[in-house]
Symmetry: C2
Subunit: 209 residues, 2 copies
């Protein structure tokens, strides 16, 4: 992996993750306000949850937390003026989309693609595990969507996503979205601003955590 520049921030996201949705939609504009560039880091939560003994999203295993999470997400999206439709299936399998994001790690279309996939899942209730849905998300963004999808199914992309997930575990990640700045870990959409402010120590108090 290339070294992070002093003013970059790693944004770790998983396409099935509910709080990753508002985070993905706003991370670029927030980063711009703080003078940071975003490094998009797709990874899979499944293996991390399985290591904790969870075979499903904790929001399904613990329904009281799940009920709260959906209401909380609704309020967050309302405050951000983001549309939200609760997906008819949760969590959805984001494996293929995450592999596409690995193929596009340097591409100009990556941020828009990520937002398209989250919108497909959380606004249009589409099954993002399906190749035709992922192709739709690439359309109008990249010159040859089918070529990208083919690359996503090859060994390089699969290995890259596995490496990302291993790096996530190594960095202490256990949920999404997460942010890494100079090895410092921040978990949650609600820690985005604090992560952006981080300069090797706490700075400022514009959100009190």
């Amino acid at each position: 992996m290339a070294a992070m520049s002093a003013d970059s921030i790693e944004f770790w996201f998983e396409f099935a993750s509910t709080y990753s949705y508002p985070a993905a939609m706003r991370v670029e504009s927030v980063a711009q306000q703080y003078g940071r560039t975003v490094r998009w880091k797709p990874f899979l939560l499944g293996p991390i949850f399985q290591a904790q003994g969870w075979g499903d999203s904790p929001f399904n295993i613990y329904p009281i937390q799940g009920r709260y999470m959906w209401r909380d997400l609704e309020r967050i999206c309302a405050e951000l003026d983001l549309p939200l439709i609760r997906p008819s299936t949760f969590p959805r399998n984001g494996l293929l989309a995450a592999r596409v994001a690995c193929v596009g790690h340097d591409a100009v279309w990556l941020p828009a693609f990520v937002r398209q996939v989250f919108t497909a899942n959380f606004v249009h209730d589409r099954d993002i595990s399906q190749p035709d849905v992922v192709l739709d998300c690439l359309n109008a963004l990249a010159p040859d969507p089918q070529r990208i999808l083919d690359a996503a199914n090859r060994a390089d992309a699969k290995a890259q996503l596995r490496a990302n997930t291993e790096q996530a575990i190594h960095s202490g990640l256990f949920g999404a979205p997460s942010f890494l700045v100079e090895q410092e870990l921040f978990w949650g959409n609600d820690r985005m601003e604090q992560a952006m402010r981080w300069r090797g120590r706490p700075t400022g108090t514009d959100s009190a955590g």
Copy 2:
């Protein structure tokens, strides 16, 4: 329970809860900024965790989350200029202190007492389950600390704390701190400002959740 006035906010806390510490220290000043009065609601997380199958704090059961939590708390306290010493025992038993808080639910000394107990636990690493420590927290705040401690050990106070915990469960609470405004539930120190802004719908965007 008395009806909440339109501009009050219920602050649900548990003395063993790490994020309840910064929340308890700042809730009155934040409420004042938003024109709200605080209703202090002590409750116990133990019975709620047990109902989820947890015999200990989830931060002990899931050590990766626990490690992150302590670091996160450290950053939050640094941003708020609050001292923090990681307690040598976690979680500590806050039963007696919570019963005292029930005795004082209308008393002028209650907010200062709550802050003293959190400071004893999270700054001075004292065992808040011990009567002499709780007495120290009452000293200089109330005219007859021993009388209050005696009342905390009587049936009325015990019943009040049980009733609070049952009301918490009934309101969908599953963690601390939590806030209730017009039946709307907000969980976490990081939702305090959003809860304060709540007027039956999302208002403002001064913190993006």
